[in-house]
């Protein structure tokens, strides 16, 4: 396994996770699934109290549904917790993770940035302050897109500042204070 390291003199500026809005749908689906499981269990208990096999089958069904949605929620909690962007003085390191489905890591060298687009479409994205960031690199024809970036303006401005500032002039504390305080 290759273990990427930070270069000498490279320092981390900030680490950002996906916006919390990515958890809304898994939580909603979890609530619906749990209600379904409770309903199945309740039907078995209320309508078939004397028929042990039927009641047992309903409880087995309720347990299966409940456990399924329980695992579903926590898989997405893990995804949210681990998927992150780490901005250093030289690179943007993107981690995208979903257990047994996605193990993505990408490195973007800031000095090779060609163009950065910030996209915040719709009422929700502008109220909750998140959006997409599209990065065009000089070396590659296809842009790299980050979705659900929180504080999109600060993210883009920080990259732009790091791109323009010579490495010796970067003051990390000042950058953190200016953009993510």
């Amino acid at each position: 396994m290759i273990h990427p390291r930070l270069d000498d003199g490279e320092q981390m500026v900030v680490a950002l996770q996906d916006h919390w809005v990515t958890l809304v749908m898994p939580i909603f689906i979890y609530i619906v699934g749990t209600l379904l499981a409770v309903t199945l269990g309740a039907v078995g208990m209320i309508f078939f109290p004397e028929q042990e096999v039927t009641r047992g089958l309903f409880i087995l069904g309720a347990t299966a549904v409940g456990l399924l949605f329980h695992h579903w929620l926590f898989i997405y909690l893990f995804e949210h917790e681990i998927s992150a962007w780490i901005i250093t003085t030289k690179r943007v390191i993107s981690f995208s993770f979903l257990p047994y489905v996605k193990h993505d890591v990408s490195f973007i060298i800031i000095s090779e940035l060609h163009e950065i687009d910030k996209r915040k479409h719709g009422l929700l994205q502008n109220i909750l302050n998140y959006g997409d960031v599209e990065i065009n690199l000089a070396a590659t024809p296809a842009p790299v897109t980050f979705h659900y970036v929180p504080r999109t303006s600060a993210f883009v401005n920080l990259l732009e500042t790091l791109h323009k500032t010579p490495p010796d002039n970067i003051v990390i504390e000042r950058l953190r204070k200016n953009y993510f305080a």
Binding site: V14, L60, T88, F97
Partner: protein
């Protein structure tokens, strides 16, 4: 109550815990292999604090399911 019903329930709980262990194993593999790339305070927070709590709550809530389902079955 026929014996196959509680046995099926027990098997479901065992499979559920096995999946939990597999998810933890895969998560640890990714974190140890990749995320340690930046040994800064921020990444430490990502690696340990949040993940540890999610793991505890995940495992704990799965354990709670066991008595609840068996009590319902035999009530």
């Amino acid at each position: 109550m026929p014996l196959w019903i509680p046995i099926t329930l027990a098997v479901m709980h065992v499979l559920s815990h096995l999946w939990f262990l597999l998810v933890i194993k895969d998560t640890r593999k990714f974190v140890d292999g990749q995320l340690w790339v930046v040994s800064d305070a921020h990444s430490q927070i990502i690696q340990t604090k949040g993940l540890m709590w999610i793991k505890r709550i995940y495992g704990g809530t799965l354990l709670i399911w066991i008595p609840i389902t068996f009590i319902l079955l035999y009530s």
